[in-house]
């Protein structure tokens, strides 16, 4: 298959089209503007609906509405805009509505900066809005993966009737690289017989809400949601490993920092430092089990977590490994990204400290 050069944001948008998205609702914000821009031209070509909403709040509630009617619906934004969408995402989780939310993260807090960041990890992996819920969070580290994951996100959302977040950073959105449009494996999906799209011969009206006034009923709903999240944790956790068999230091990173780390690991190995990479591809569910296994390897001396934040995923690494090995952290917040040299230096420093 032929390689094509694509910009990250546009590739994500085209991937959604190929996944059969019917409706896109969004409000502009850098660094994800190419997604709605692309959709505004492309979706009408395939009979879809594009609306530039009056606000982020409106966009996510349009997703709620379209999804309720059984459509494949999505929105995209960047950090401050995704914060505004949290109420709607919580309602979708409560009403068990599928939907895809792309967050091309930028530096925060508040309006922050337009440069790439990973500072929304907590928000994305802990639910983000009110209530006991989780969203599936897919974390691509290059454009090919962003394309594959975006397509998969729609199937996952429909399969589990839950919002799915594609958590990218500004670098993935803005950069260009070649990708291949190959067929992404499709899931067998149940019919959307729950959708509020007319009676269609049913003997009842479908009613979609997240409101459950009766406390015992609401408790049972929460338990049912948890069983679903347990099932997702059992079945959908994904990660990638590089040189983990014999490593003394395990660099753990997702997204762009993981990609930068692969170059650092290559150079560390060339210098005789046995480094490896553990890269979560789903950050919720987090690949805790496998990470704990690697942490227990006798050859492993330390773990270095690298993020474009002040340290968020590092808490999941601590939880997963129960800190059986020393855990170091290297973070570049506020729109900066780690360098190959910076990661190497931190890795060597940490190894020296633990020896």
């Amino acid at each position: 298959m032929e390689k094509e050069l694509w910009k990250g944001n546009e590739a994500i948008a085209e991937a959604a089209v190929r996944a059969g998205v019917n409706c896109f609702f969004g409000y502009p914000i850098t660094p994800q503007n190419e997604i709605p821009e692309y959709m505004s031209a492309r979706l009408p070509e395939v009979g879809g609906v594009f609306v530039q909403s009056e606000s982020e709040l409106a966009a996510i509630n349009m997703v709620y509405g379209a999804s309720s009617a059984g459509m494949r619906a999505m929105t995209s934004s960047s950090s401050p805009g995704v914060s505004l969408k949290q109420e709607g995402i919580s309602y979708m989780a409560g009403a068990e509505l599928p939907g895809v939310i792309v967050n091309v993260m930028r530096g925060g807090p508040g309006l922050g900066t337009i440069q790439p960041s990973q500072c929304d990890y907590f928000q994305a992996t802990r639910g983000g809005g009110n209530g006991d819920y989780r969203t599936i969070v897919l974390a691509p580290c290059n454009i090919q993966e962003a394309v594959d994951m975006t397509q998969e996100a729609f199937d996952l959302a429909d399969l589990y009737r839950t919002p799915v977040v594609v958590l990218a950073d500004g670098m993935i959105g803005q950069m260009m690289e070649p990708i291949v449009w190959h067929d992404v494996p499709k899931r067998e999906l149940p019919p959307k017989d729950w959708a509020a799209n007319g009676r269609r011969g049913r003997d009842h009206n479908n009613f979609i809400t997240s409101l459950r006034m009766d406390a015992p009923d609401c408790e049972e709903h929460n338990r049912a949601l948890q069983r679903k999240y347990d099932l997702i944790t059992e079945k959908e956790v994904r990660w990638e490993e590089l040189d983990t068999e014999d490593c003394e230091i395990l660099i753990t990173a997702y997204g762009t920092p993981a990609r930068i780390a692969t170059s650092a690991i290559e150079e560390l190995r060339a210098k005789g430092v046995k480094a490896g990479l553990f890269r979560p591809k789903t950050v919720w569910p987090f690949p805790s089990k496998r990470l704990a296994e690697i942490a227990a390897q006798p050859s492993l001396k330390a773990i270095l977590v690298v993020e474009m934040s002040m340290g968020q995923m590092v808490e999941d690494v601590q939880l997963a490994t129960k800190c059986v090995k020393p855990i170091g952290f290297h973070g570049r917040p506020g729109g900066m990204f780690p360098s190959v040299e910076g990661i190497m230096e931190q890795a060597e420093k940490l190894l020296k400290e633990v020896q």
Partner: protein
């Protein structure tokens, strides 16, 4: 072979498109390549740059501290990135608007009067193609034929007459390496 290139200049000088042309050509030659723009809150007339990696192996980090080549289309770009170029690397200077010389002695300097040549060819817009021609001639990282094929692809219909102009710009840039 692995090239880590910084291309930098004023907005409007075509620095982003030099980068895109390099990446596109590399991909069509079967190489791996990445292009990362600086997309900061740049002011009008401010300096913009992009980072390009061309490699026979899959690209790990698309960003880097030490470029193997620097293409400086204006003075602020030369001043900013000259110290970071790897020893033995190449600095390409748009000598039409940069009077200063490269200070480093452990790198090769290539002076290309991009705007002067472009104006001689009758179209100021092709100054970036002049620089691209010089880059390819100096590094041999890509085949010039690949770029030529891209131009034929890019300019069709009423724009087809621009193919010849761009080919000439590439050739004139390459000539700057002779003698």
């Amino acid at each position: 072979m692995k090239k880590q290139i910084i291309i930098s200049g004023f907005g409007g000088q075509g620095v982003m498109s030099i980068g895109k042309s390099l990446v596109e050509a590399a991909v069509s030659e079967g190489m791996h390549a990445t292009w990362v723009p600086s997309y900061g809150p740049e002011m009008r007339g401010g300096t913009a740059n992009c980072s390009v990696v061309l490699s026979e192996e899959p690209v790990g980090s698309p960003v880097f501290t030490y470029p193997t080549e620097l293409i400086a289309m204006n003075l602020p770009s030369l001043l900013k990135f000259e110290p970071n170029v790897v020893p033995g690397g190449i600095i390409f200077v748009n000598s039409s608007i940069i009077a200063e010389k490269v200070q480093r002695t452990d790198v090769k300097a290539v002076y290309v009067p991009c705007d002067t040549i472009a104006n001689e060819l009758g179209n100021a817009k092709v100054s970036n193609m002049v620089m691209l021609g010089a880059y390819i001639a100096a590094t041999k990282a890509l085949k010039v034929e690949t770029i030529q094929q891209m131009l034929v692809h890019m300019f069709t219909g009423p724009k087809a007459k621009l193919v010849d102009l761009n080919m000439k710009a590439l050739a004139r840039g390459a000539e700057c390496l002779e003698g």
